[in-house]
């Protein structure tokens, strides 16, 4: 891999709560090359947003580190340099609640420009208009509107424009389209892919839609209960999924044509329940639902092994993965 733009090393984030410690992100490693789109996929509560929040500095890791261009940035935003905050931006899942309803779109977009001293006065208005044009919202029509008077898709466009205002190189997209319709989703995805090319952006793209992932990500990482169970390049990932959870995930995708049906692995019947992140079972955390589980699986936590160049998996079925007792 070329010099990574972002790297997570043993990234861990626990939340102490009254009912015990939530192991939201538990010792994960990944690297991203510039221009990559890493798709982070996993079920609800698996720790995707927490990972994203560590990357943008909403939380400091409990242990482990995040490196940006080789430099440690594992601190909360309050301690990060302005320069770094300009470089790494985030678009949240819910476009409705992430935009202040009392402010106009012009005011919303002016804030990052002012905070980062990027533009003021007449130049600021010009920059804002350019940003709106970039996300295909005609400035004349949208500058003075409030978020509640525009549709969900348009709100998400504004949120994207706000993220791009500081000319970042790295953008976290936390389920940017899951609250939206397929036809609106299509528009936003096209826009994001276009902007990526144009501005040379690197995306950490969080979603639970595998079909969408297939079309946008260059690499895919699968998260289950705070850990990464498999990472691979997208094409290889869909051709040769290895981890039993990945197979179950892929075989459960509802598709719309026979052609796609034939691409799915044989049905891995999903059963059992998702354990609570406060009370993670010993051994491999997937063992309660795993159709291929071995005797060791409920005793020893598998280690991560690289089975092929750039394809890592965390499962006892793949040799070299029997260290680490927990």
């Amino acid at each position: 891999m070329t010099e990574p733009i972002l790297e997570a090393r043993g990234l861990t984030k626990f939340f102490p709560t009254k009912r015990g410690t939530v192991r939201a992100v538990d010792d994960i490693d990944f690297r991203m090359a510039p221009g990559d789109t890493l798709g982070l996929v996993g079920e609800s509560g698996s720790g995707k947003t927490t990972t994203a929040q560590c990357v943008v500095g909403i939380y400091a890791p409990t242990t482990g580190d995040i490196l940006f261009h080789g430099q440690s940035i594992g601190a909360t935003a309050a301690k990060r340099s302005k320069e770094l905050k300009r470089e790494i931006r985030i678009v949240f899942q819910d476009p409705g609640s992430s935009l202040n309803p009392k402010r106009t779109i012009k005011q919303i977009l002016a804030t990052p420009l002012a905070v980062h001293h990027l533009a003021s006065g007449r130049e600021q208005v010009a920059r804002i208009s350019a940003l709106l044009e970039r996300v295909e919202l005609p400035p004349a029509e949208y500058l003075y509107k409030h978020p509640q008077s525009i549709g969900g898709g348009e709100k998400q466009m504004v949120a994207i424009a706000r993220a791009l205002a500081t000319d970042p190189s790295f953008v976290v997209l936390d389920e940017p389209t899951s609250a939206l319709d397929v036809s609106v989703q299509a528009k936003i995805i096209n826009l994001l892919l276009g902007l990526q090319k144009e501005m040379g952006l690197t995306y950490l793209f969080i979603t639970h839609d595998m079909s969408l992932m297939r079309n946008v990500a260059s690499r895919v990482a699968i998260m289950y209960l705070g850990k990464l169970s498999e990472i691979a390049n997208t094409a290889e990932f869909f051709q040769m999924p290895l981890h039993p959870y990945t197979k179950m995930l892929l075989s459960s995708i509802p598709v719309v044509s026979d052609e796609e049906e034939s691409l799915k692995p044989a049905k891995g019947i999903s059963r059992g329940e998702i354990p609570s992140p406060v009370n993670i079972p010993p051994g491999c955390s997937f063992h309660s639902r795993c159709p291929s589980r071995l005797d060791v699986c409920d005793k020893i936590d598998p280690a991560t092994v690289e089975v092929a160049a750039g394809h890592v998996v965390r499962c006892h079925l793949y040799p070299g993965s029997q260290e680490r007792t927990s």
């Binding site: 609800s44 528009k187 096209n190 079309n215 999903s270 329940e273 639902r289």
Partner: protein, 333 residues
């Protein structure tokens, strides 16, 4: 075509909402039916009126602001819109079950999940001999229903209030409720939107099996074309308050005829990974002043002069497949 075994029949339903700014004309002549034992899907983009349709059937629309301006809803031939309160109550308790999109609406915030589940099981379940269940049997059935939806720790969930659960968990409680009754018609409004695909799959299969066992019918509402394809035999596509296309599910998804359905299918990201389409230009109309004629005409790439004059009637476009679009009109013979 409607026949003797019809369970639910909605005929030309018009429903609006009176709000400060005026009259929102949402449902503009919805016609659909569900036969005994049939699984039917209803899909369409957000705001097209799917939930309004289901709420009309259950008569749970808030009136006002809602008004049913015309149309009929027949359940086994009986007019639901004219039913008296007591008959309606019996209908809801014994014949219909609904899983709502927003589960907080159907769960009572002041009672624990357990007490609500127990009530439902007590009211609707009987042993094979027709006896009322004992307290212990009720408890076991509730826990089993929760387990069936993949919920961790059912005993704890039973003692929680709805507010203490995550969205996905609440949704599963509602599914558990639906699974524990013996209704003849299940109205499922986006039952699995908050869940991940493996749990979704697990629950939908369970639902499917249960419906099989009981021989009930399902009207399944969802955004997910994949889910309807897996679970339903027939499908209705809704756009801006009316049905624009209907037919056997797989056939229709493989060869959509209405321009809206075509746009929708082109927007669905595919596992084949051929990229993402541009989406349908424009957006769903403002219901205060919906476009005249075909409500899709401002967004339609094939629009013709007559499209903005009068709403197009349904035309046959394939075996049992029909679309409301002037492109398929038969020349008068």
């Amino acid at each position: 075509m409607p026949n003797a075994s019809l369970l639910l029949e909605i005929r030309d339903l018009h429903v609006g909402f009176r709000i400060f700014e005026g009259h929102l004309r949402v449902l503009a002549g919805v016609t659909l039916w569900v036969a005994e034992g049939e699984r039917v899907g209803l899909v369409g983009e957000t705001g097209c009126g799917k939930t309004t349709t289901v709420k009309s059937v259950l008569r749970v629309l808030p009136i006002p602001p809602a008004i049913v301006t015309s149309g009929e809803i027949l359940y086994r031939g009986r007019d639901v819109l004219r039913m008296h309160r007591r008959a309606l109550h019996v209908l809801r308790r014994e014949e219909l079950t609904a899983i709502f999109q927003d589960p907080l609406q159907s769960l009572n915030p002041v009672f624990t999940v357990g007490s609500q589940l127990r009530d439902i099981v007590r009211d609707s379940m009987r042993t094979p001999e027709g006896r009322v269940l004992s307290r212990r049997e009720i408890e076991a059935r509730c826990i089993q229903a929760l387990e069936e939806t993949g919920m961790p720790d059912p005993e704890r969930i039973m003692s929680n209030y709805p507010i203490q659960l995550s969205g996905g968990m609440r949704q599963r409680v509602c599914i558990a409720e639906a699974l524990s009754t013996t209704a003849r018609l299940l109205l499922a409004d986006e039952p699995t939107t908050n869940l991940d695909v493996t749990i979704q799959d697990q629950i939908l299969r369970k639902l499917d099996r249960l419906v099989d066992q009981k021989g009930s019918s399902v009207l399944m509402i969802t955004h997910s074309m994949g889910v309807v394809r897996d679970l339903t035999q027939r499908i209705y596509i809704m756009y801006a308050g009316s049905i624009v296309e209907t037919g056997p599910t797989r056939q229709l998804l493989a060869s959509p005829k209405h321009p809206y359905t075509q746009g929708l299918m082109a927007s669905v990201p595919r596992l084949t990974g051929r990229g993402v389409s541009e989406g349908i230009p424009g957006r769903i109309p403002n219901y205060l002043e919906p476009p005249p004629g075909c409500r899709f005409h401002p967004r339609c790439p094939h629009r013709m002069p007559e499209c903005s004059v009068e709403a197009p009637p349904m035309s046959d476009v394939g075996a049992d497949q029909r679309a409301a679009c002037y492109l398929y009109r038969r020349s008068p013979s």
